[in-house]
Amino acid sequence: MIGTHVNRLMLFAGAAVLSSLSWALLPTPTVAQQPPGPRETPGPGRGRGERGPSKPTPRHASGRVNLGAPPGGSGFWGGGGSMVGRRGSSLPTNHDVSELPFQPWSKALYDARLKQGEKDDPHARCLPPGGPRQFQTPNGFEFIEQPDRKRITIIFGGGPRSWRFIYLDGRPLPKLDDADLIPTYFGYSMGRWEGDTLIVESTGYNEKFWFHRGGLPHTDALHLTERFSRPDFDTLKYEVTVDDPKAYTRSWRGGFTMPWTYTNWDGSPGGEMQEYFCQDNERDYSRLR
């Protein structure tokens, strides 16, 4: 009887040690309830299995590329990878982070953030992720084209479940020295189609967020030029030019691709974004101050 107990205790202790070791070998957990996640394609679309060849790019009756689901269809875009480096879904033309034209202070701040393991990432406190970061969060996003309002709305299923407008009516970008300008998380976005590519210029960002996973710094001078294209049904290609002379000595470019997601979060058929609110599961804010 005693021997049985000892055996059980040893088994339990062994399991505990193995469990501890496995946790120790995992990447350092982040403080966010919605962790920064994998460096490559995050959650949505998991469990969809192997895909066959993609269908061709869907188009509207006018011939223009449709960035959403075709009539009667469903689905959404899953998040992408990194606009620096060339791993996973990152573009092969991306710079390595060591090649970015940091200002001295922005390089030092980026290095400090990396050492901290994203402890101070505003996204961990459920603040909205502007810039490329908006496409790096789990739970996906959709383009809602609104031709009657001459705008495209992007709705995000991740983070604080936010949205962003891209105006296509030719209005000018706000001037950064305009005293009435209210800087925002998603900036002010004006878009235009050039062939099959949607080109979006944005400025007027605030400095309350990290514009890229990992903490690449930006300032209120940030100007982004984003290029969205859909080379086939299943792929959204995202390229962005970063122009922020306060943080970088010259403009630079990077991007990644994102997958069309046919399934729900749990892998069941449907292709609908789940209801998710970052704030709903936030547990760390009081300890982050």
């Binding site: 202070w105 390089k107 400095e207 930006h218 002379p245 306060k246």
Partner: protein, 135 residues
């Protein structure tokens, strides 16, 4: 008398509003930008409240001490990102005022509530100095 008071109030209000705007516009960008509050003084009990407002135009950091009628603009602000040390020089108004030199280090630089900790030197007097960035 009244118009002068009104103008003075207006100037003070404009400066305070300007400082508030700086708070609202900066969080995660250049680590010095924003408004910082704290104290300096020679002992733990002899303290002086101080407000530091800093901006960055892409090349230089500029700013002031104690926005308001008695504000003092910095003549020089330098940052060494290698160790996050910061050097400030300012010349208060008044013929007998001694120049102020602050040497500090940014503590917890990735935190939006980071601090500047160091020394405040004015003439032969050397005090400790600590300000924390407004959230």
């Amino acid at each position: 008398m009244r118009p002068t008071s009104g103008r003075t109030f207006g100037v003070v209000l404009a400066i305070v509003c300007g400082a508030s705007a700086a708070v609202a516009r900066a969080q995660e960008g250049h680590p010095l930008v924003g408004t910082w509050h704290g104290t300096w003084g020679p002992t733990a009990t002899e303290r002086h409240d101080v407000t530091v407002v800093l901006e960055f135009d892409g090349k230089a950091v500029t700013g002031m001490l104690n926005p308001g009628p008695d504000s003092v603009r910095f003549d020089k602000v330098t940052l060494d990102p290698g160790n996050w040390s910061v050097h400030f020089e300012a010349t208060p108004k008044g013929t007998n005022a001694m120049p102020i030199v602050i040497d500090a280090t940014i503590q917890d630089v990735t935190n939006r509530r980071r601090s500047l900790v160091g020394t405040w030197t004015q003439g032969s007097m050397k005090s400790d100095f600590k300000v924390t960035r407004d959230d």
